[in-house]
Symmetry: C2
Subunit: 417 residues, 2 copies
């Protein structure tokens, strides 16, 4: 047990170790329709130019610019309108001298035309008829070749990289893929993460209240956190403080083919904390603690070749431990190029004291006069999940810092709504 | 058609109008397990104090503080250990004078005890036995009543408000609900949103490439955007530029019992844009355009008593129109107290010119020396979805502003990864 007293890692040492230990699971090809928030596994290139045909940027008339080079407000040029070109036309007719074609936004430019006159620069600005094209049109301005046209390849050239490996497929990226006719996309597989709550004092949230017991907050909280950062969560329930049962639950996780096992509680120095022992006997322990507050007991190990991470039992510590360590691990396992949360700067509204450990403090932050200001919320005891539910930010006090004065700035993570 | 030329609203006028028009759909009770990202519809109160019993904050020994009031490093007090109290014990034995009980973190304090001695302040600090409690313990410090104890109600008092109506149920909030034994929760129903793409030039992403046609980017993009902000999307596909077919598709949306119909394209002044006409004939049009860039053609109306919003066909305009108008509407419909995106401040790295309309420009923003700096990306033509896929931020240029100098600050929305 002496080992438990040693190796107090810094947050960054521990995180680097865990990230080195984490890798992608494999690649799968999925329907684009199912790919929201998945990560691109193979570079996606444009299969064609976009636009793929020269098209009109406006509703108006496709013309030969030379025909209207002398047109003006007081001396319009009259052109004969030989065709309608609605959007979607594949084979517009060829324009000859003195001819125009009525054309809609996005419609293919007819051969012979080299510009478009916007409808407001013609005598058809107030035209109401939707069924019949006009026989002729007066044009009140000149245009240069290319005016009001979107040329081939203006946005993207064939062969250009659209989305590189590691990009997340959000709505805009899915739209981009759709625009290039992609039906399927290669993404990194989602890691399967087993979640175990440990402890004789823990009862399932659906059960009846029992004195001395505590309802299980961590299973659902960790499941939701795993899903939000792109993993697939398998909640394996509550395991009592009995060594054989703990081992059986860990074996169950392995048999389910998971890529990571997470537990909460059972990892401190308490007399009935068996998980660490079970992991050590069936694999190895990397480290037992990290120099942070809250969340110092953090066990990293390997159980029968599956990575294992033991979070503290206090829900706040488990939540913060997840954000600091497990979220980047899952992002790495999903192939995300972006592993870490954005840090924002917050000006504190009160003096804050710390004990020298790197600390993550629950706070409420708002904007005053364009500056983000924050104050601590609730008591910072690690059991206080109520304050975690109210906080919108975690202030990060670096290791070695014992006090921050009111008005100074600290780094922080936004917790969203 | 003259009405189309009138009523050019400001962005904020249009948005206020649309929000006034939007309301929640109704309340439903769902399993807490299914409630991630749902919005609380009825205030949630604590059914009991938390902690619900005085418990130990540490692993150590529960004692009577009076017994150890003179204890110190050089003059320890010896106490007889009469019991083990692991976490989860419901009926610990009563402590008498001179007695202690070994106690684990989170375990119920025995009657008679009024403090806990941390294990490191006893002679059992290096204890290895997990099975048998010691017979006695030497205590090397005094404690005051209440030391190392988490008293009843320290975090939450029975009857206290846990989460108010309008709060979003993220992982921390779900953990909080679980901790209070909640199995089900009242949330606002998810609005059903029909999505229609319009235009003869649009073909489905899975089809073969056809000259003159464009693959449908908007259906999947808008579906993903709807889902991300808490709505349920029903994509009704592509409707050609034929009035009867447009009407039939709108009728189909109504028959599906949707709460909002969104379309893209078909809302400009083009000769084949039927949607506006169909809406007007079967309901009413509120307005046709908004003074913004991109995305000026924005049609608001009502079709057979269902709210309708027509976005422009260009994917970038549709995307920005969604963020500006539809996202807050859906948030309102889901009962979310928080309707609007956070605005961040960005220092621009180049001069930016505008035409006086409120403008939303695609940009890439990064942090340099603790300050967010940004530059425009790609050409700002509204068809350029490639640049939308690369941008991580939308810079917001207010209406009336024609130029922003390099080094000045503008407001912006982060687009996430």
């Amino acid at each position: 047990m002496d080992q438990k007293q040693e190796s107090l890692l810094d947050v960054s040492e521990a995180r680097d170790f865990l990230l080195n230990k984490s890798s992608t699971i494999g690649i799968e090809e999925i329907d684009l329709q199912d790919a929201l928030d998945r990560i691109v596994a193979e570079d996606i290139f444009a299969l064609f130019d976009y636009p793929s045909f020269a098209n009109s940027a406006m509703d108006g008339f496709a013309v030969r610019s030379v025909d209207v080079k002398d047109a003006g407000e007081l001396n319009p040029v009259l052109l004969r309108v030989i065709a309608d070109i609605p959007a979607g036309t594949s084979t517009p007719p060829i324009l000859g001298p003195g001819q125009a074609a009525r054309i809609m936004t996005g419609a293919m430019l007819p051969p012979g035309a080299d510009a478009v006159i916007p409808i407001e620069n013609t005598d058809h600005f107030q035209a109401e008829s939707l069924d019949r094209k006009p026989e002729a049109t007066k044009v009140f301005r000149s245009v240069k070749p290319g005016n009001f046209i979107r040329p081939v390849g203006q946005d993207v050239k064939k062969g250009q990289l659209l989305l590189g490996k590691g990009r997340k497929l959000g709505p805009a990226q899915l739209g981009l893929c759709s625009l290039f006719g992609l039906r399927r996309v290669s993404t990194w597989k989602k890691p399967k993460i087993a979640i175990i709550s440990s402890g004789d004092e823990i009862i399932a949230s659906g059960d009846n209240f029992v004195p001395g017991k505590v309802f299980d907050a961590n299973s659902l909280m960790l499941k939701s956190l795993v899903e939000r950062c792109g993993g697939e969560a398998l909640t394996l329930g509550i395991v009592p403080d009995q060594k054989e049962l703990v081992q059986a639950r860990m074996d169950a996780a392995v048999s389910l083919g998971v890529d990571l096992i997470i537990s909460s509680a059972g990892v401190s120095v308490g007399a009935f904390d068996y998980i660490g022992m079970v992991v050590e006997e069936n694999g190895q322990i990397d480290f037992w603690k990290v120099n942070m507050r809250p969340g110092k007991p953090l066990v990293s190990g390997t159980y029968q070749e599956i990575s294992y991470l033991g979070l503290p039992g206090n829900p706040v510590s488990a939540f913060i431990g997840f954000l600091v360590f497990i979220e980047p691990m899952i992002k790495k396992m999903t192939g995300n190029a972006n592993l870490f949360r954005d840090e924002i700067s917050v000006q504190v509204k009160e003096d804050i004291y710390s004990d020298g450990r790197q600390s993550f403090l629950r706070a409420v932050v708002s904007e005053e006069n364009g500056i983000r200001v924050g104050e601590l919320i609730g008591h910072q005891g690690s059991g206080n999940i109520y304050s975690l539910g109210q906080a919108n930010t975690l202030l990060i006090i670096p290791s070695g810092v014992k006090s921050v004065r009111s008005g100074e700035e600290v780094k922080a993570w936004s917790l969203g709504e």
